[in-house]
């Protein structure tokens, strides 16, 4: 431990001061850059295709495909003003937000009941909800489609608004259970002694303290809804009622040779709202992801 100076330079990293700069470049920076390149390249490609002029798209030899000197917004303009895209975007947003709100309300009640009311069988209920987390939509969509049809929900937004919470509730209940557990019992006991009802405790004490958990669960649910494909593909038939992921796959994939411009523009515009939301709430996303796994 003679080499004391670097220790102060990075006190958070136990042993890394033993490495030379050269080792670190080879063992850390180069692999990291390679992985980051692979992870990000599809997005770069998406963006560059979306702003390339049509005639450059399929001509890799005269124009270097990796960049464009004549950026154009023709694809994005066509998407926003000449197709039903805004409508699909609105559908996606409306369905995602409504389903998320429904799921959050149900999850708050459920998580509070399991963690704090501790009714008989609360433990088992928690376990069952976790099991529900493990039931994938791919094995449910066939029977669900007959259920949706029998309830008269087929080809309405409610087909998705009512089924998405089943994907969201197990996840957000587990996440919120973790948050509620960290709130001290004493707060609730005081409130009970002061004559507060369970409802008052939940709305005036627990929820304000669990706001970070609610945000984490909320934005994560929103992402899951936005991402959902199989239910939206199966339960919605009319073109104007579709969500972005489904609509884009069914609408732009005709024989057109130059479809790639509009496809990439559609994929780009469809991802942007989530990426913007994500950039504001990175920490909440990470805690949602790691929180639900660690429980």
């Amino acid at each position: 431990m003679s080499d004391a100076k670097p220790v102060q330079a990075d006190d958070s990293e136990g042993m890394s001061y033993l490495d030379t700069v050269k080792t670190r470049v080879v063992t850390v920076y180069i692999p990291l850059l390679l992985i980051l390149f692979v992870l990000l390249f599809p997005f770069y490609w998406m963006v560059i295709t979306a702003i390339k002029p049509k005639e450059h798209l399929l001509d890799l030899d005269t124009h270097n495909p990796l960049y464009t000197l004549a950026p154009t917004f023709e694809h994005i303009k066509a998407l926003l003003f000449e197709s039903e895209y805004p409508r699909w975007l609105w559908n996606t947003m409306f369905i995602s937000v409504t389903a998320t709100i429904l799921a959050l309300i149900a999850s708050v009640f459920a998580a509070y009941a399991i963690v704090r009311i501790r009714f008989r069988g609360a433990q088992i209920t928690g376990g069952l909800i976790f099991l529900a987390y493990l039931v994938p939509p791919s094995i449910l969509f066939i029977p669900l489609s007959t259920v949706i049809f029998n309830y008269g929900l087929f080809d309405t937004p409610f087909a998705l608004i009512l089924t998405y919470p089943t994907i969201l509730i197990p996840f957000s209940t587990w996440l919120l259970m973790g948050y509620f557990k960290t709130i001290p019992y004493e707060l609730e006991e005081c409130a009970l002694i002061d004559g507060a009802s369970r409802w008052q405790i939940l709305t005036k004490i627990i929820l304000p303290l669990a706001v970070p958990g609610l945000i984490s669960a909320g934005i994560f649910c929103l992402t899951l809804c936005w991402n959902e494909f199989i239910y939206a593909l199966t339960f919605i038939n009319s073109q104007e009622k579709k969500t972005v992921p489904v609509a884009i796959v069914t609408a732009f994939t005709d024989g057109d040779q130059y479809k790639w411009g509009s496809l990439m523009a559609g994929a780009l515009v469809g991802s942007l709202p989530l990426v913007v939301l994500y950039s504001f709430f990175v920490e909440y996303y990470v805690s949602a992801m790691t929180g639900a796994v660690k429980e």
Binding site: E13, M15, S16, L18, V28, L32, I35, L36, L39, P42, W45, M46, L58, L60, P65, A103, A106, S107, F109, Y112, A113, I117, R118, F119, A122, T125, I129, A132, L134, P136, S138, I139, L140, F141, I142, P143, L144, S145, T146, V147, L162, T166, I169, I193, R198, T223, F229, L233, T234, V246, I248, V249, W260, L263, S271, L274, Y278, V286, V293, K294
Partner: protein, 317 residues
């Protein structure tokens, strides 16, 4: 404490009536609090799950509820070469994608656990493939894997590594590798970020102690990092296997099961059979047939990893 005795004091009524007792009864309250979540899950998850199993024993078609036909659907699909191929594809896809995802994810997590400039930003960027809807990134891969205008073929041609374009999605094994690559690309960020959260809980003093004892980097990973991470690896890999096994979106967009069914997974096959083909009963049998595989996969990744945890005695710390 039992709050059955504590009734709201500011109330008109003198003694605790039946209603008062009920209002503070745990089981009664718990029932009402659980009701919304339970209603959703029973109506749209438990009931369909049971219905799916039932439908798999009927000859139901779209618009026709069908009659009970026993195991006929299963007998038919087990003898069907397309179904056997789909089972093989699904197992292959799940196994290879999960192993690669785990290896790359763990490696990336270890890299990110280093002291890096712009650490928070890098971590945020790594997660982007996970945030962007799968279908939309799958469309980007579809373009990247284009048989004529693929940028990968272009780059390899420029460097003189290949003479003709690679047919990424038209050749059976190329198609399998391509969809697995896209799946790994999508799954690595989730695994890396969750494992990174686990890595950050490992105390640096353990590594210092190991270094003083003369441990190599590999030994430090093998005997310090890995045992501590095992529980979180078990959970993450269980989820990863589960979602890879039931993958639908990526295949639907990239190959739609082609060429000649070589990338058909059980999920896409059940969709094609039940929704496009209208043979609900048969499709339900295919998706119900996924359940034992899923349970098996969960058992292996769960108990397999838990067992290692005991063997290495990680509960000592």
């Amino acid at each position: 404490m039992s709050d059955a005795a504590i009734t709201p004091s500011g109330h008109d009524r003198a003694g605790p009536s039946f209603w008062e007792g009920l209002k503070t009864n745990r089981n009664f309250l718990g029932f009402w609090f659980m009701l919304p979540a339970a209603a959703f899950l029973v109506l749209f998850l438990v009931y369909p799950l049971g219905l799916g199993v039932w439908l798999s024993f009927t000859d139901s078609k779209i618009g026709n509820p069908g009659d009970f036909i026993g195991l006929e659907n299963y007998e038919w699909i087990i003898g069907d070469a397309k179904f056997q191929l789909a089972v093989f594809n699904t197992l292959f896809y799940t196994f290879v994608a999960s192993v690669v995802k785990f290896a790359v994810g763990l490696y990336l997590a270890i890299l990110l656990n280093n002291h890096l400039p712009f650490k928070a930003m890098i971590r945020a960027v790594v997660l982007i493939p996970f945030i962007v809807p799968t279908v939309l990134s799958a469309i980007a891969f579809w373009w990247i894997f284009d048989p004529q205008f693929s940028v990968i073929s272009w780059a390899l041609r420029k460097w003189g590594w290949i003479s003709g374009n690679i047919d990424f999605l038209g050749d059976p094994w190329n198609a399998r590798i391509s969809v697995i690559f896209a799946n790994v690309w999508r799954g690595v960020p989730f695994i890396a970020i969750t494992l990174l959260a686990g890595l950050q809980t490992v105390s640096p003093s353990l590594y210092e102690a190991a270094t003083l004892d003369g441990a190599s980097k590999w030994q430090m990973f093998r005997y310090v990092t890995y045992p501590i991470l095992t529980p979180i690896i078990a959970v993450v890999m269980t989820f990863s296997v589960l979602f890879t096994f039931t993958d639908f979106q990526l295949i639907k967009v990239l190959t739609n099961g082609g060429p000649a069914g070589t990338t058909e997974l059980m999920a896409t096959m059940s969709y094609n059979t039940a929704i496009l083909g209208g043979r609900i009963g048969e499709g339900a049998a295919i998706s119900t047939a996924m359940i034992p595989f899923l349970l098996g996969a969960i058992m292996i990744s769960w108990f397999g990893l838990q067992k290692r945890k005991w063997q290495q005695g990680s509960d000592n710390d």
